[in-house]
């Protein structure tokens, strides 16, 4: 099912949690909403689910106005950040809940319900936990039961709020892989929220980067990583080195030192963004140089703190270089960004 959000606005008092969000989600997509805490991701997810109503804008599912329908009528499966499992029910009854509350006319009989619950518990590979209570499960198990519960009624959209949030690193990795393969298996339009770029880049087909209630960029994981559209995206995704520069008449200055790089479509005080691994040392001179302050080596790389004079101030950046080019503390080195972006302030 396709979801179309048009100019969604949501305020809490005077504060705009969502500020003119436009988003089209294609059928069968696995989409990540990525952004720092407080950027409005959960609010957007809740509006899609019908748990919150926008102050302005439209939500449509397959071209039909979804705002006219309540949460229970939208056929949306919602997995809450803290799972929101029913503590007084067994795992089995939790998963069966959505089937049991259906109107009598379309409700499965007991055998049908049992079969469907069994099917879902098999899908999340936790059939052996059917008789347990939620508090007797680990975080990862609760997550999967919450997912099974949401899927029981065959929703047309699956929404997951921080599905990996409360889990430790190892379980997180497993669950990511598992969620991907699950999506391939059931292929329901899915949106998940995360503040963790790795979650988003590894799992999603498409990533929506949000900040302060606005969408900063929409693209494939490769696009948002390699071609960040805004300074925020560049800083938020991947590890970046940031230097203050000034652009006048197409020339880039750092302090009173001109740099031999191009700055298309930018002017005035700006920031030079370079991926940490894209900053090379000593190959050719573009006029950017700094003093090595501290070097540490591990694995195949050495990591160095380098102080760059930018105007009156010094900016210390951290870069990674191959070990075969040894850096000595105190030496001055030429810095050469293999790839870079300049964004006006």
């Amino acid at each position: 099912m396709t979801i179309e959000l048009t100019n969604i606005t949501k305020r809490f008092g005077a504060f705009a949690a969502l500020d003119g969000v436009d988003l089209r989600i294609a059928d069968g997509e696995l989409l990540a909403l990525l952004g720092p805490s407080g950027s409005g991701k959960t609010t957007l997810l809740r509006i899609i689910a019908g748990l919150d109503w926008p102050d302005g804008g439209d939500v449509s599912f397959d071209g039909e106005n979804a705002l006219a329908r309540g949460a229970g009528e939208r056929q949306v499966g919602f997995v809450f950040q803290h799972y929101a499992l029913f503590r007084h029910m067994t795992v089995f009854e939790n998963v069966a809940f959505g089937l049991r509350v259906k109107p009598r006319a379309i409700r499965k009989d007991e055998a049908g319900i049992r079969a469907r619950v069994k099917e879902l518990l098999d899908l999340v590979q936790l059939d052996w936990l059917a008789d347990r209570y939620p508090t007797q499960l680990s975080g990862g198990q609760r997550q999967r039961i919450a997912l099974a519960r949401a899927l029981a009624t065959e929703p047309r959209i699956l929404l997951l709020d921080e599905p990996f949030g409360a889990l430790d690193a190892k379980v997180r990795k497993e669950l990511r892989r598992w969620l991907r393969s699950l999506h391939e298996e059931i292929n329901v339009t899915s949106v998940f929220v995360t503040h963790d770029q790795e979650d988003a880049l590894e799992v999603a087909n498409r990533v929506v980067v949000m900040d302060k209630g606005k969408i900063e960029q929409i693209g494939t994981p490769g696009e948002v990583y390699d071609y960040p559209a805004t300074a925020f995206v560049h800083g938020f995704i991947g590890e970046s080195v940031v230097l203050p520069v000034n652009v006048t008449e197409g020339r880039v200055w750092i302090g009173n030192q001109p740099l031999n790089i191009a700055a298309p479509n930018v002017g005035g005080p700006s920031k030079l963004y370079v991926r940490r691994h894209d900053m090379q040392v000593g190959s050719e001179s573009i006029g950017l140089r700094g003093a090595v302050r501290h070097v540490r080596s591990f694995g195949a790389i050495q990591r160095a703190d380098i102080a760059v004079c930018a105007g009156g101030n010094e900016t210390v950046i951290e870069i990674d270089t191959p070990r075969d080019h040894a850096l000595r503390t105190g030496e001055t080195v030429e810095l050469h960004p293999r790839r870079y972006r300049i964004f006006a302030d």
Partner: protein, 285 residues
């Protein structure tokens, strides 16, 4: 299953991380003994002045049995009413914002705070033949004051805060997301209340019920004014005890008291078991 409180066991040879076990435990035991156990033991000892036949005679006499039946029966019924009405009051106070909500919330405590004699007089004058409520009810042929119905109403009056104040914090703390989850799964409002909210409140409801019941069984002050106190009809057990005492029949009084004590104890035990059972089904984190 992990239970709610953390328990520190003391007294073993190992060093305890929480200091003061000996002192606090000693104080606790002494205090509970002086305040609760010794008076109760005294009560039992007093009944041993009676032979078993005498004891059986007293407690199976018509007047005693009727008084016990009235006290326990009406208290149970009143606690049931409080359970239902109290739940509705809690729901309204917690879930809706309406003008005067804080005032209503404060009013719930009045039966706690009011001296029971004052409550008794207020209820009696309200429900007397010519009272504000008594007069219209009399028109309908319903007599409240000086009948068992009056006792019932007084017991409801004094019991309501117990249900409200035990259930209220639990409902407030209930995670709103579980209701949203239910709604998202297609449950309507009633199904959500019936299948999700109510089961989560059961332990608190049972506690509130038990407290309201215990209070109503023991209630004296507010009941005797409105009861009429007719032996076998509207005479509550605590009053019968007072009557026996005023007749200097101390052993009789204590025999009735012991029966009340044991009955109350059994009921608390049953409720406790029920609660435990409910708690097992809704384990706390």
């Amino acid at each position: 299953m992990v239970r709610g409180s953390s328990v520190v066991t003391g007294g073993s040879g190992r060093r305890n991380t929480l200091p003061g076990f000996g002192l606090t435990m000693g104080l606790t035991l002494t205090w509970l003994s002086v305040i609760i156990l010794i008076p109760l033991a005294g009560l039992f000892l007093k009944t041993f002045e009676l032979s078993f036949a005498e004891f059986a005679n007293i407690v199976t006499s018509r007047r005693t049995l009727n008084a016990l039946k009235i006290s326990f029966g009406l208290a149970f019924a009143a606690a049931l009413v409080n359970l239902v009405m109290g739940s509705i009051v809690v729901w309204a106070l917690v879930r809706y914002r309406f003008p005067g909500r804080r005032i209503f919330d404060a009013i719930v405590d009045i039966p706690f705070a009011l001296p029971t004699a004052v409550a008794g007089i207020a209820l009696t004058s309200l429900f007397a033949q010519k009272g504000w409520l008594g007069a219209p009810l009399a028109e309908l042929g319903i007599k409240v004051a000086f009948t068992p119905l009056g006792i019932f109403i007084a017991m409801i009056f004094i019991g309501i805060p117990f249900v409200v104040r035990t259930v209220q914090p639990v409902l407030i703390d209930l995670d709103p997301e579980i209701e949203e989850a239910a709604a998202s799964l297609g449950a309507n409002r009633w199904q959500t209340i019936w299948r999700v909210i109510l089961p989560s409140l059961i332990p608190a409801l049972l506690t509130g019920f038990a407290l309201a019941f215990a209070r109503a069984v023991g209630e004296y002050g507010s009941v005797i004014f409105i009861a009429g106190n007719l032996p076998n009809v509207s005479e509550i057990a605590p009053l019968l005890i007072v009557i026996r005492l005023s007749e200097f029949r101390y052993a009789d009084a204590t025999a009735i008291a012991v029966v009340m004590l044991v009955a109350a104890f059994l009921i608390i035990l049953v409720v406790n078991r029920l609660q435990h059972w409910a708690q097992m089904r809704i384990p706390v984190h």
